[in-house]
Amino acid sequence: MPIKILMPALSPTMEEGNLARWLVKEGDTVSSGDVIAEIETDKATMEVEAVDEGTVGKILVAEGSEGVKVNEVIALLLEEGEDASSLDGAAKADAAPAKAEAPAKSEAPAKSESAAKSEPSAPAADQQAAPAKAPPAPASDKGERIFASPLARRLAAQDGLDLAAISGSGPHGRIVKRDVDEALKSGTGRKGAEAPKAAAADKPAAAAQAPKAAAPSGMADSQVLKLFEEGSYEVVPHDNMRKTIAKRLTESKQTVPHFYLTVDCELDALLALRAQLNDAAPKDKDGKPAYKLSVNDMVIKAHALALKAVPAANASWTDGGMLVHKHADVGVAVAIDGGLITPIIRRADEKTLSAISNEMKDLAGRARSRKLQPQEYQGGTTSVSNLGMFGIKDFAAVINPPHATILAVGAGEQRAVVKNGALAIATVMSVTLSTDHRAVDGALGAELMSAFRQFIENPMSMLV
């Protein structure tokens, strides 16, 4: 029996991904640990390592394939002593579900049927046959079960509709056939990649194919397109990161009651300390310093320490109860080509400034080349977004659930301030905390900001 290489789940929530690149070809010998393929998820490109050793017998999912379901067989590995002839049964068994994905292939159930017969003892074959028959009961993004008739589910799957975007008119809001038919007509819930058939009817085909993203949006694509002259724009298809940003942030603004707290922090002491610390950095033999602290590194540390000082603000809302976090894990927004990603400095409160600084450099670098591991950007208890380097004075950021807060950092600039009744010049940085009111109330948020300012304006306290 050839070994099946399955589409890996790179994170607990991953349902599908794109097979970006094969690093092996049929006939190559691989051993455990070899990198064989690159998978692109919503946020990162990941390497797939071989778990077993053998010869790559057959590649079943071509490079560049989008929306490959987790656990779909992507390749077959021949063990020692097996030759290509043993591929037949397995390949056939696994080809069926892929076919079933295509709406036009009505033969799918029969095919998977024969496949299951040819390999009655292989549970994997059955599993693979399953998607060919009925898509699993879907769940909305919030994890609630979506009630839909089996026929509605199948129609939606065949036509590439997202059931979560369709409202049901059946008993107790169950989605029934007429709702799917209606959605097909109106274009509601159309999924990008799988929609070519439905889109073909629309006039600006390319535009109609542009994914609507999973996020609920106000205007239908057709309404938006109507407002612009055809040819006056170019349709850039969304990549997974764009879709994720759209979905998560829309969800955040729609479900998280935001409020905002702004304070001005004087930076002069911090800048002086930073210069002093950087000057004192030990250098290696090439003259390269062991660390070079940025203001942002110090903001991360100050925010983490502030959360430790006001632990009630280091929280996440859940319906079941408040998660009060024991560590301050600070996500830091990193702008990358085509979007942004938020790698996390774990336990930033416990780390030295130099450790934070070096870790940040490593994470940002790998974020830009989309090589972060999911665990490096998933989770976290808060985040920091800094647009100071662009001269932004002050802004309000959108909370990245399940965080309860996000700190938006503006530019440090010289401003006129009043000190002891007289005008003076100080370097001032405005920061705005966006707060999830379900988890953190106004006074608590204010307390957090006050602690933050204390650390920023008395930076030596961060070192003890």
Binding site: P103, P109, A110, A134, L151, R154, G170, K177
Partner: protein
């Protein structure tokens, strides 16, 4: 005292009307129902129910005549006593008629006795019935309201239908019967011509055949039970012919000559010949037509089309405040369709959320001849006509353990699926007890199951219902016991 005002008045207490009245009362509406003749309407008094009573007698007689094949010995010969068979049938009707009266009382629905006429939107006048009385009649229920003027915010016309008559072959109640006379024969006719092979015609043909009459069925369409799937119809025809029924399709009764105690039907057959068939009686079963006359519909401008009131998906007519449901609102003219149409109508009126128009492709139909026929959804021909790519499954009674044990091994279950989506779009059955089986597929359709759920449903063994699953499996090349 007249001038009583209601939320809803329903005209006609057939299965559509009385069920609508109960639902209205459940929804808290002040409700009245008008009836001129018999609570429960045709269905309960002269249709569905009393014919099932007659057919049950026929069935027992058929079984007795085959006692030997079950290893049973019957000394002498079992014979039918027409008077008692009819009396039993009337008794069944009377019992249910009383049941409807009880239900009206229980639900505090006023029964207004008489014939209603819409005088203006929101108002009816009730006068004496102008309809000739068909005996036997049940007594007028106690506590009914009498003639007068009544008002209501909503008036639902549920007046049903009556036998259609062909010009020149009008029923006379003596030699040319409608279902009224056919249901209460004084003496058993020795021979019969049945004109029309829809549910009514074929059921009477089957009944009288069991009772020993020589029966000829004349049907203009190419198949008996023209609305049924051609394959099922052909199967049923073969079985009926085996029982000694004579069936002429693509044939037409052109003329009927009446004798002293017989009729001679001139039947034009498809090859253009005229066959003269003389029989004791002729049953005219060429369909029914809506009771739209004498209701004042025309004066109020209520739109009608081919003898039926035109409605939208919720029973609304073109005149606000006037609704219609059931046979009078158009085909299929079936009691269960009328009931559901009434519920939809009244729930819409009451503002119940989530009310949708009826899905007409999910209305089952049952015919109680021997063998029985039942179906729901599209026939194979209709599905193809609509250009649908289909999968068809079939399963024979001859391969089902329970059917063989019952001694009922002639029959078949056919299922039709949309090839692409796996939607069950039609189910057709012929054979013993299939009228009780069809609901399984109706539920499946209504829940929008695909072949997959049906295949994963556990059907009890040993039952006739197992054939339903086998038929589904067969459509997907997975039949087990065949």
């Amino acid at each position: 005292m007249s001038g009583t005002s209601y939320d809803v008045i329903i005209i006609g207490s057939g299965p559509g009307g009385y069920v609508t009245a109960i639902r209205a009362a459940q929804l808290g509406l002040k409700t009245a129902i008008v009836e001129r003749e018999h609570l429960g309407g045709i269905c309960l008094n002269w249709g569905c129910i009393p014919t099932k009573a007659l057919l049950r007698s026929a069935e027992i007689l058929d079984h007795a005549n085959h006692a030997k094949s079950y290893g049973l010995k019957l000394e002498g010969k079992m014979t039918a006593d027409v008077k008692d068979v009819v009396a039993r049938s009337r008794g069944v009707s009377a019992r249910l008629n009383g049941g409807v009266a009880f239900l009206m009382k229980k639900n505090k629905i006023d029964v207004i006795w008489g014939e209603a006429k819409l005088t203006k939107p929101g108002e009816i006048s009730v006068g004496k019935s102008t309809k000739p009385v068909v005996e036997p009649q049940n007594p007028v229920p106690k506590g009914v309201k009498g003639e007068g003027t009544y008002t209501a915010k909503h008036i639902i016309v549920a007046t049903g239908a009556r036998p259609r008559a062909l010009p020149g072959i009008e029923p006379d109640g003596e030699l040319i019967w409608t279902y009224f006379e056919a249901m209460k024969p004084d003496v058993m006719p020795k021979s019969l011509v049945v004109m029309g092979s829809g549910a009514i015609g074929i059921e009477f043909a089957s009944f009288y055949r069991s009772m020993g009459a020589e029966v000829t069925v004349v049907e203009v369409m190419p198949q008996v039970m023209p609305v049924e799937d051609a394959e099922i119809s052909a199967f049923a025809r073969k079985q009926l012919e085996k029982r000694g029924l004579k069936i002429l399709t693509e044939a037409k009764v052109a003329k009927v000559e009446k004798g002293a105690n017989s009729v001679t039907a001139h039947v034009e057959t498809k090859d253009g010949k005229v066959e003269k068939i003389t029989a004791d009686r002729l049953i005219s079963a060429v369909g029914v037509q809506g009771n739209i006359e004498g209701l004042g519909l025309e004066a109020l401008g209520v739109k009608t089309d081919r003898g039926c009131i035109v409605i939208d998906g919720y029973g609304k007519t073109n005149v606000p405040g006037i609704y219609a449901i059931g046979d009078v609102a158009g085909p299929p003219m079936l009691a269960h369709k009328a009931e559901h149409e009434g519920v939809i109508c009244i729930e819409k009126i009451a503002g119940v959320p989530g009310v949708h128009p009826m899905e007409k492709s999910r209305i089952p139909g049952c015919t109680y001849c021997n063998p029985q026929v039942a179906s729901v959804g599209l026939t194979e021909a209709k599905a193809k006509e609509q250009g649908r790519d289909i999968r068809v499954g079939r399963y024979s009674f001859a391969a089902n353990g329970k059917a063989i044990a019952l001694g009922e091994d002639q029959g078949m279950i056919k299922t039709i699926f949309d090839k692409k989506t796996g939607e069950l779009i039609g189910a057709h059955m012929v054979g013993a007890e299939v009228t009780e089986l069809i609901q399984g597929f109706v539920v499946a359709m209504n829940l929008e199951t695909t072949e997959e759920e049906l295949m994963h449903t556990i059907f009890p063994h040993p039952t006739l219902s197992e054939m339903m699953k086998e038929s589904v499996l067969d459509a997907y090349g997975r039949v087990l016991n065949a």
